[in-house]
C-alpha cells in the first residue's frame, strides 16, 4: 500500500512546536517518517513535544523569534547540525484582543514580529540553496481572521493577511527550484490560544458560524502534513482554507 502523505527522509523545521497546532503537527510529521526540528522559547514544553515524537534523529532549539536579526545565524546552526531542510512550518504566533483605540504602534509591531516578520525572515533564509532542498514545501499557519474580521483583532488579522500576501510573489520566485509555499487559514482550533481567547473574555458567539465545531489540533496537523507531502504537488502560492465551515 502506498501512503501519499509519506514524509520519510524529510527534514522539517516547525516553529511554535512547544504547543497547540505546532506540537500536533510535529508529532504527526514524525509519524509520517519525517525528521522534525522543533523550535519555540519554552525548553521544557519543547522537551515534552520531543518526547511525543515517533522515531529518531529529531532535535529542538529554544529561540525567541522576536529577535529577527539573529534568525539568519540561528538557522545556519540548525542546518549545520541537521543538514538542509525539505520543509518548514511557521506555527509560532500570538493573538491578542485590543480594540482599535488601544492598538498603538508598539503593540502592533510587537505582534507583527512574532507572527509576520519572523516568518518573512525565516523564509528568506531557508529558501537559500544552502538551507533547503529543491522540491521543498514551506507553510505559514494563517487564520480565517486574514479575510474575516472580528472586533478587537485588527493587529492579528493584519499579521495573518501579511502572511497570506507575502507567499504569492515568493511562490513564483521559488518555483524554479520546485519549492512550494502556502498558508493554511485555520478556523478556531482547540489549543492553548483558544483557551486564552476564552479567558481574556473572547466572544465565542462570533464563532457560531463554525458549524462543524471547534477543530481538533490533530486534524489541523493533517492539513499541514498534506501540504508538506508530495500529495499536494499542484498547490502553491495559495491560502488553503481549513475552517470547519466558518467562512461558507
Amino acid at each position: 500500500m502506498i501512503n501519499p502523505m509519506d514524509l520519510t527522509g524529510k527534514s522539517i523545521l516547525v516553529t511554535g512546536a512547544s504547543s497547540g497546532i505546532g506540537r500536533a503537527a510535529a508529532v504527526k510529521l514524525s509519524r509520517l517518517g519525517a525528521k522534525v526540528i522543533l523550535t519555540a522559547r519554552d525548553q521544557e514544553r519543547l522537551g515534552i513535544t520531543l518526547s511525543q515524537l515517533n522515531g529518531e534523529g529529531h532535535a529542538y532549539y529554544s529561540y525567541d523569534l522576536k529577535r529577527i536579526e539573529g534568525i539568519e545565524e540561528f538557522l545556519s546552526k540548525i542546518v549545520a547540525d541537521n543538514g538542509i531542510l525539505n520543509g518548514f512550518v511557521h506555527s509560532a504566533g500570538v493573538s491578542e484582543m485590543k480594540p482599535l483605540k488601544m492598538s498603538k504602534f508598539n503593540s502592533l509591531h510587537d505582534l507583527m514580529l512574532t507572527n509576520f516578520y519572523s516568518f518573512a525572515e525565516l523564509i528568506r533564509c531557508i529558501s537559500k540553496k544552502s538551507s533547503s532542498a529543491d522540491g521543498s514545501s514551506f507553510i505559514g499557519v494563517s487564520s480565517v481572521s486574514s479575510i474575516k474580521g472580528n472586533k478587537s483583532q485588527s493587529a492579528y488579522s493584519a499579521s495573518k493577511s501579511a502572511m497570506d500576501g507575502i507567499i504569492r510573489p515568493i511562490a513564483k520566485e521559488l518555483s524554479a527550484r520546485r519549492i512550494r509555499i502556502n498558508t493554511v487559514l485555520f478556523g478556531m482550533i482547540g489549543t492553548e490560544m483558544f483557551n486564552e481567547f476564552l479567558k481574556k473574555g473572547g466572544d465565542i458567539s462570533a464563532w457560531k458560524d463554525q458549524y462543524m465545531g471547534i477543530g481538533d489540533p490533530e486534524d489541523a496537523a493533517n492539513v499541514i502534513a498534506f501540504l508538506l507531502s508530495d500529495a499536494s504537488k499542484l498547490i502553491t502560492g495559495t491560502g488553503l482554507i481549513a475552517d470547519c465551515g466558518y467562512l461558507s
Binding site: K98, P99, M102, L198, G201, G202
Partner: protein, 73 residues
C-alpha cells in the same frame, strides 16, 4: 498613581468628558461600558500596570472603585 489620575485614564479610555465618573459610579450606569470597553481595560492595565486581567476578573467589578483598586504597580 492617585485615584484621580486613574480616573483620568479610564475617562480617556472610554472617551468620556473629564468629571463624568467618580469612584462610586456603578459600571452599569456608564452607557459606554460594554464588552469592547472591557477589552480596552485589559489592554490598559497591561500597558500601564503590567497586570493581566481576565474576563472573569472583570465581570466581578461593580463600581469604578473596584477597577481603581486593581490598578496598582
Amino acid at each position: 498613581m492617585t485615584n484621580g489620575e486613574k480616573i483620568d485614564l479610564l475617562e480617556e479610555m472610554l472617551e468620556l468628558k473629564s468629571g463624568t465618573i467618580s469612584e462610586n459610579t456603578a459600571l452599569a450606569e456608564i452607557s459606554v461600558w460594554d464588552s469592547m470597553a472591557a477589552l480596552s481595560l485589559i489592554a490598559l492595565c497591561d500597558e500601564h500596570f503590567g497586570i493581566q486581567l481576565t474576563g472573569e476578573d472583570i465581570v466581578k467589578f461593580r463600581t469604578v472603585k473596584d477597577i481603581l483598586d486593581i490598578m496598582v504597580g
